[in-house]
Amino acid sequence: MSARLVVDFNRCTGHGRCYTVSPDLLDEDEEGFVTVRHQPLALSDDRLAEAEDAAAACPEGAVRIDRNLLNHVEAP
């Protein structure tokens, strides 16, 4: 199965939970908001669990996993 990690930067308010639990995929900018380490955020199967942790950790619902690659949109 292939999937992508999708970050809604407008929803992020800098809780910092996602990059704490998923440091290999996500990082913080100088203000504490989320940034992504690699583009595009296609997830190999061995990264999926870490990405799921990041999505589950976000209190704002700003991080999610897109499993429908037919609606593929490039990350900003």
């Binding site: 800098g14 504490g32 209190p59």
Partner: protein, 405 residues
Amino acid sequence: MRSAEQHEVGTCPVAHTDYRLDRPAFETYALLNAERELAPAVWNDSTEHGFLMVSRYDDVTRLLREHDTLVNDCVNAFDPNMTIPLLPNSLNPPAHNKLRRVLNPFFSPAAVKRLESLAHERAESLVAELAPRKQIDLGADFAMIYPTELFLALLGLPVEDGQMFLPWVEGIFGGFFASTPEELAAAESAVQNIMGYFSDAVAEREKNLLDPETDLVSRLLEATIDGEHLTKDEINTICLTLMTAGLDTTRSSLGYMFHHLASRPDERKRLVADPELWPKFIEESVRLYSLIIMDGRQVTADVDVMGCPMKKGDMVWLGLAQANRDPRKFPDPDAFDMERDNLNHHLGFGAGVHRCIGMHLARAELVIALETWHRMIPDYRLAEGAELTERGGQLRLQSLPLEWD
């Protein structure tokens, strides 16, 4: 006079609980829980103006993001005319976001790391001083001075000024939830004192600017928003706001956390044995013992909110503490459970654009204080016969007498 006689309440039931009042410890949560289960929205007529109380998790998180109709001109549901200024809290987008961008770098996880060695040093020094006393009041003797010193360090001000600040912070909090003119007058005089102190400190820094990347006051002096510098009044107000937001909350959190640990020796032993659990302990404590029980929001127009016809200027109470104990979101919500799978979905630090700027700092301060204390004083208990009361408005245990052998 009961405000419900003047205010249409639509389909909402009316409650009369005055949440500004001091109560026996933990009674406030029981009252809040009951009113959350009464209806999704309840009109409360205990204050002169009254307010609409929204308290279920999904509704609270949704309304926290509706910043076009629910604004921050006033954030105190008890009083739509509160005059104590707060920055950036009282701003709305987009002005709010612009000021947050100036402040955020000083509160990011990376910036907080710069303060950690000082936090360790202060915590160790304070606990070492207290250890031989074997009997203290946690709030007065430890939990207030510790965050005060770190706040001063954050602003690059002398840590020794901490003792001078304590009565000022007390005075301000009397005024936020004032029910008497005396409390209000005391709060206004405390604000004057603090603004005077900051005004001198800012003038001093202006003569000797430091690196704006690491010094917050220098950054405030140097920053421009839409081409304009911040005024001195704005800078003083920002300092005052950071102080009121950061000191009483940290003290109050430590109070409930130490009460929890003092009453549950087995849980305490587990944490003493495995200090890596402190972050989880803190997260669950911030959910279960929410201090800031509401975020107040002001209605910008005559609109219906959750079935209640609201008038422009009315206040909505977004019940953070009630949402944090909503069984629809947190199973067995009144139980302490550090293994919850949605552990950090609580609203203890708020949510949306106004969420607590200091939450990374708060977590670091709390972990360091708890880890240090329990390494140095692992066994302690509540003093026998202690009768615990909690302050209304913004909760805290008024005293927490601890003793050890």
